[in-house]
């Protein structure tokens, strides 16, 4: 009798021990997560707090909560430079070329990758080698020849941002083409053959079979292109020369004059406002993106 009771006791003791261990491990894991999270989030929180601070406080205080909060940063951010441009119009300008850029890049990159990945044609290897070589070409060395070319075409200062948008029709993001080809290698050819037997032509195979399979790669291409294009500063600086057409990247910098000094709270407020739509879009579409990725993964 006592033996049994002892056994039970030790069992429950072992269980309790196990539970305690689990609790400790969970607590530890959360502790690590929280600490890392604070370290990662802190600069962002500080930035939001800094939009309410004066310069002297921004440079001297680690505290994200402002001691003398001011709204002047946001008030100044609404400046419209003689009615020529304001932050809202600048953001609209940004998206008016970023969205076409993203769409055109995806279409042209997928087509090019499909061509290189699935077809053998004359000059295939040389062209592919040339394309891979372009992967290592930094944008800086292209600035001058590109400028001269677009200038000859009369596109500099174009109201439709032609020098920024048109090149994306020609699969100029070599990295995406390369990445899509790598993904394409993992797509079994049997699927396409099956589609052909079912009567699909080449384009139908691409649209109905390849594109859905490539979705995860395409989604990441879209994300990257969106990020790069909306952060591009040099392109708009070279090719946009009317204030009314300035995109947000140029607008945010307009007042940053190291000679006369400037108020950082305005710059930070502008930055915050200008990244809000992207953040909201990504949060809203987050599930869709993740679903796209996992669905593609299962199929592949």
């Amino acid at each position: 009798m006592t033996n049994m009771a002892n056994q039970e006791k030790t069992l429950s003791q072992a269980e309790a021990n196990l539970r305690r261990q689990r609790a400790i491990s969970v607590a530890l894991r959360y502790l690590v997560l929280i600490v890392v999270c604070i370290i990662m989030i802190y600069p962002l929180v500080w930035m939001v707090g800094a939009t309410f601070k004066e310069n002297s406080e921004i440079f001297t205080s680690m505290n994200p909560i402002p001691t003398n909060p001011t709204l002047s940063g946001y008030r100044d951010a609404m400046q419209n430079y003689g009615g020529a441009i304001n932050i809202w119009r600048a953001m609209l300008n940004t998206y008016s070329y970023v969205i076409p850029e993203v769409i055109f890049t995806l279409i042209s990159s997928v087509l090019t990758a499909y061509g290189f990945g699935r077809f053998k044609f004359k000059g295939h290897d040389i062209l592919f080698a040339a394309m891979m070589a372009m992967l290592f070409l930094p944008q800086v060395v292209l600035n001058v020849p590109q400028y001269i070319m677009y200038n000859k075409l009369g596109w500099v200062g174009s109201k439709l941002y032609l020098p920024l948008v048109v090149p994306t029709l020609f699969a100029t993001e070599t990295y995406f083409v390369f990445m899509l080809i790598q993904f394409l290698r993992n797509v079994p050819k049997d699927l396409e053959e099956a589609a052909q037997i079912d009567g699909c032509n080449v384009m139908q195979t691409l649209i109905k079979i390849i594109v859905p399979m490539l979705m995860p790669a395409i989604v990441s291409c879209a994300l990257f292109k969106f990020m790069w294009s909306s952060n591009d500063f040099m392109g708009p600086l070279l090719y946009v020369n009317t204030p009314a057409k300035y995109p947000a990247t140029i607008f945010v910098k307009l007042s940053m004059d190291s000679d006369a000094g400037f108020n950082w709270n305005k710059i930070l407020a502008l930055s915050l406002i200008s990244i809000l739509p992207s953040i909201i879009t990504f949060f809203a579409a987050q599930n869709q993106f993740v679903e796209g990725i996992s669905a593609g993964g299962v199929k592949g």
Partner: protein, 464 residues
């Protein structure tokens, strides 16, 4: 089902945003006219009256063609605002001339403009830095020789010496100086009061202040702070005072020997050794920010800066409450020699490709020599180099008192010639000679002789 609805929703949102995007690209083109028209409505009669008046009276310089000019500049908010107003006033005064502006921050501005100059698409009127003329107009084909429009642009308002600094290598007047600038000292009076001493008037005072600061206020306090480029400039003052000539002569030749540089570098290093200035390592430890953003400057621990006469406001606006910054005189190296120098801060140029040189010259003249334009532009580009510009602003009390005082300090000491070559990319800029030599010396990687070698080689290359 839910997924499908979501997908449809998202697609429509995306489509909508694409459409919005497309709409955006066409809307702004029409939009600027609309709000402007609305704003103008109230003052329309006045504007019309104004517009008619000059036409009726046909004032001098009214002889012009209707045209569109392009005008670009870099700067900050207040300069953008003032210049836009001036341009609008110009268009009101000379109806028929339409001025399209393009403005931005300094970052990469030079790159973008250089591309335009070289491909022949530069704006009709363009704001240039002092070293842009030798850098981009070496053969005199990029910028118009302003002597050809001197009937419109009154060049007699400028000192001959100042105009000379805007000649291109083939001797044409490639630009007209907007403002001249030189470096002087600004002192945090609060900290000097705390140390119980007056702000320095001579280099000896400054060196003595280093010790006093260390003893009375502690190791954290320095009477002056100098970054790499500041050290290069202060070194040029030292050489100017010792030798009586600038490092680079007006004809672009080098005036110094390696021994001179060794001597000057020893002087700069002695400042660091005597606790007058913090070392480069310490400045990097402060967060590698510009002095006006350095917490130790903001709270008064670094009590002095060496800065252009046009730029004190970025320091005063950042100072913590209760700190007072005052303009100092140039420092006397002993016996009334200062060795300081002044340069063209910025200039206006007319691109040689312009179709309307006369009208472009009218715009430049309006901005620099017409009291109406001068008052709108105020001292947004520093203290005007134009005589009438200076007098107009001075009489109206429109020059910031600190800037005026600093400008006076520079010019009271008969500044020497400051060669644009001193700022050549091989000398100034990331990884260039000044940073290499002065940080190397300060960190102890270089001996004084090594650092002098680096500088001498770079100077020889630039002047070669």
């Amino acid at each position: 089902m839910k997924k499908k609805v979501m997908a449809v929703l998202l697609t429509s949102v995306m489509a909508a945003s694409v459409l919005a995007g497309c709409g955006g690209s066409s809307a702004p083109a029409a939009a600027p006219a609309a709000p402007a028209a609305e704003e103008k409505k109230e003052e329309a009669p006045a504007a019309e009256a104004q517009a008619e008046a000059p036409a009726a009276e046909a004032p001098e310089g009214a002889d012009y063609e209707e045209c569109t000019l392009k005008f670009d500049w870099w700067g900050g908010d207040s300069r953008h605002e003032a210049t836009q107003k001036a341009v609008e006033a110009f268009m009101a005064k000379y109806p028929g001339i339409n001025v399209e502006v393009n403005f931005g921050a300094w970052t990469d501005w030079e790159t973008a403009r250089a591309l335009e100059y070289q491909s022949g698409t530069g704006s009709d009127v363009t704001q240039i830095g002092s070293n842009w003329i030798p850098d981009y107009d070496g053969d005199g084909t990029v910028f118009l020789d302003l002597n050809t429009v001197s009937d419109t642009l009154d060049l007699t308002q400028f000192e001959a010496g100042d105009l000379e600094k805007c000649l291109d290598p083939v001797g044409q007047q490639a630009g007209v100086p907007v403002s001249m600038t030189g470096r002087t000292f600004y002192w945090n009076k609060t900290t000097f009061d705390k140390a119980g001493i007056d702000v320095p008037k001579t280099v000896d005072d400054l060196i003595a202040a280093g010790k006093t600061f260390q003893e009375k206020l502690g190791d954290e306090y320095y009477p002056l702070t100098l970054g790499e480029y500041d050290r290069a400039l202060f070194m040029s003052f030292y050489i100017g005072a010792k030798k009586g000539v600038p490092i680079i002569a007006e004809d672009g030749t080098l005036n110094v020997t390696k021994e001179d540089l060794v001597d000057a570098l020893n002087f700069i290093q002695s400042l660091e050794d005597n606790h007058v200035i913090p070392g480069i390592a310490q400045l990097a430890g402060d967060g590698n920010v510009t002095t006006n953003e350095n917490p130790k400057f903001i709270d008064g621990r670094y009590a002095g800066v060496f800065e252009w006469d046009s730029a004190p406001l970025k320091y005063t606006s950042n100072l913590a409450e209760g700190q007072e910054l005052v303009v100092g005189d140039e420092l006397d190296f002993g016996g009334g020699v200062y060795g300081n120098s002044a340069k063209v801060s910025m200039a206006f140029a007319i691109c040689a490709t312009t179709q309307h040189p006369h009208e472009a010259a009218m715009l430049v003249n309006y901005l620099l020599n017409d009291p109406e334009g001068i008052k709108i532009m105020a001292s947004e580009r520093g203290v005007p180099a134009s005589k009438i510009g200076y007098d107009t602003l001075n009489d109206a009390g429109m020059i910031d008192p600190m800037i005026a005082k600093a400008h006076e300090a520079v010019y009271a000491t008969n500044p020497m010639f400051f060669s644009p070559k001193f700022d050549n990319g091989e000398l100034k800029g990331d990884g260039a000679a000044y940073i290499d030599a002065f940080s190397g010396l300060s960190y102890g990687d270089y001996s004084v002789e090594d650092a002098a070698d680096v500088l001498f080689d770079a100077y020889s290359n630039v002047c070669g």
